[in-house]
Amino acid sequence: MTAEGARGAALGAGLALAAGLGVAGLGLAGLSVAGPAQADAAASGRALYETHCQSCHQFDGGGVPNFQPSLLDSVLVAAEPRTLAAYVLQGTADLPDTARAYNNVMPSFRHLSDAEVARLLRYVRGDLAGVDDAEPVTPEAVAEARAGLD
């Protein structure tokens, strides 16, 4: 096939199929989508996870090797609530590059309220990681963690 012929074939194929294959339509089939409205104060822990965490830690919390850690077998996720809350509130951006084990940076989540962080972390610990949550994360614990950072 000549280069000109290849171009014609490619453009022709595109015209013929563009109407039949919606990219977003294919991707959305059967999946729930978290929109901005779900990120409000009343959002569930799952909705908060989908809005703030899912793109990096993945839908199941399993992470991406070398890029973002798994939450499923994490000592930190299973740690004492104030320790975990402090880590999430602070993020890893202030750590030196060489102190991070994964390529990407976790941002600070101080912009979330204490209640939102508590709901988010209860979802991560309970629903995703299956931590036996004898000491569930409470807004009060998050507030204590926040106070310790300020």
């Binding site: 096939m1 000549t2 280069a3 000109e4 290849a6 171009r7 074939a9 490619a10 453009l11 194929a13 595109g14 013929a16 199929l17 563009a18 294959l21 990219v23 977003a24 294919l26 991707g27 959305l28 999946l31 729930s32 989508v33 978290a34 929109g35 901005p36 990120a39 989908e50 809005t51 703030h52 899912q54 793109s55 990096c56 993945q58 839908f59 199941d60 399993g62 992470g63 991406v64 090797p65 070398n66 890029f67 973002q68 993020g91 951006a93 590059d97 060489t98 991070r100 994964y102 390529n103 990407n104 940076v105 976790m106 941002p107 600070s108 912009h111």
Partner: protein, 428 residues
């Protein structure tokens, strides 16, 4: 017989649409783990090595020896950051030797008979033992002094015909925000990271002891140009770079989840001295066919970047496919339409959630002998991920990471998830 897709881009506007092409794939060859990779009719694909670990960029010597770089020593199947695949007894099976206990990286190339290896902080060179094919001696530093960074730390390399070494230095952030990856945080203006990163640097290919310096910056505004290669007819390099992440998470009022999954474009460019390729101030929107002002710099998803200030892409691919390597097909074994064209390995997305992940393939961009794009980008080899839909890259069987041309004109494809190297040959 399905699964052969084609990306159609309007010439000039560089607008990509995901479309299906006429059924061209032959019955695919099967790898040991049962994954079927489709290639166009007339081509065959055969694994030549498996279980290597996280092999990244590769280079093939004129004697057929394959050299592969490991991004982390800990993920190599053997002890070392360099794998050497040889067939000393000529039985058709390459034997893997792991070496380079002090090495880890992605960039690798053969230049004038010697091996160049890009660690995260230096470009090193090794002479090769003609008997074993292994590096002889401790090697030497060609360019050192690159900054340590966790994001986009690897150093892809390429050479031109005038004795220059090009090093892609990825940006140490997503979008040069005041607060990294933090919702609403503005971009630093000017972005100080561009002084030593986020661009392509040019050094002497053979002088030892050079130090990384802003003065040697050849082009700027490339967030993470993982694939770069010299096109002899055009007498310049082409490169493919990763676009930024997190438009929706960082700016939920401006971008939907669906826009976040598709935007921004992964861009393919010609490399021009002094060129500005737009990061972090802009990004390319292949759906609009325009370069846009980044939201960290006042953009709202609709505002077009200043015309003429930034380079226009040769081709664009939908967001997050992650171009991990690019080569120019300079051999003669493939049909004429492939000669001078670009092959790009897409590592595959991780950040399209909740939509399925995409990429995980090898794309061909038709380019003429003198370096002009003459056709639409098309998926050349597909099926590496081994399942559809794929929701997490963790569940992909293979992720293409490196490309090289062998002395027989075959295309070799490396993968850092299944640790496989394939050979794609044209048999008719």
């Amino acid at each position: 017989m399905t699964g052969f897709t084609r990306l159609t881009a309007a010439l000039g506007a560089a607008t990509a649409l995901l479309c299906a092409a006429p059924a061209l794939a032959q019955a695919p060859d099967q790898t040991a783990d049962g994954v079927e990779v489709s290639v166009p009719e007339g081509f065959t694909i055969t694994p030549v090595a498996q279980g290597l670990g996280c092999v990244r960029h590769i280079a093939v010597h004129e004697d057929g020896t394959i050299y592969g770089a490991m991004m982390r020593r800990s993920c190599a199947a053997g002890d070392g950051g360099l794998v050497v695949l040889r067939d000393p007894d000529g039985d058709g099976t390459r034997e893997a030797t792991f070496t380079g206990a002090d090495l880890q990286g992605t960039g690798i190339a053969l230049y004038r008979g010697r091996l160049y290896y890009g660690t995260d902080t230096a470009i090193r060179r090794y002479t090769l033992d003609p008997e074993t094919g292994l590096p002889a001696g401790a090697g030497e530093v060609i360019v050192g002094g690159f900054d340590e960074q966790s994001q986009h730390a690897v150093k892809p390399i390429a050479f031109d015909a005038q004795g220059h070494l090009y090093v892609s230095v990825g940006a140490p952030s997503n979008a040069c925000q005041e607060r990294m990856r933090t919702p609403g945080s503005p971009g630093l203006d000017p972005c100080p990271q561009l002084d030593r990163a986020g661009g392509i640097w040019r050094y002497d290919a053979e002088a030892t002891g050079q130090r990384h310096t802003t003065d040697r910056r050849f082009a700027t505004g490339t967030r993470n140009a993982m694939g770069l290669a010299y096109h002899p007819g055009a007498d310049r390099l082409f490169f493919a770079s990763h676009g930024r992440d997190d438009l929706h998470r960082l700016f939920p009022d401006l971008y939907t989840v669906e826009q976040n999954a598709e935007l921004p474009s992964e861009e393919v460019h010609r490399l021009v001295e002094g060129g500005d390729y737009g990061w972090p101030y802009t990004y390319y929107d292949h759906e609009k066919g325009r370069r846009m002002v980044a939201p960290e710099y006042g953009g709202d998803g609709e505002t077009t970047a200043e015309p003429g200030r930034y380079a226009e892409p040769v081709a664009t691919i939908p967001g997050h496919w992650a171009p991990n390597d690019l080569i120019v097909y300079t051999a003669q074994a493939f049909p004429e339409r492939y000669r001078g064209g670009l092959f790009i390995a897409y590592h595959g997305s991780w950040n399209r959630a909740p939509l399925p992940q995409r990429g995980y393939n090898v794309v061909f961009v038709p380019v003429s002998a003198d370096g002009e794009r003459v056709g639409a980008p098309e998926v050349f080899a597909d099926g590496f991920k081994g399942r559809e839909p794929l929701r997490s890259p963790r569940n992909a069987a293979h992720r293409p990471t490196g490309l090289a041309i062998g002395p027989d004109g075959a295309l070799y494809v490396a993968d850092d998830q299944g640790g496989t190297i394939w050979k794609i040959a044209y048999d008719r």
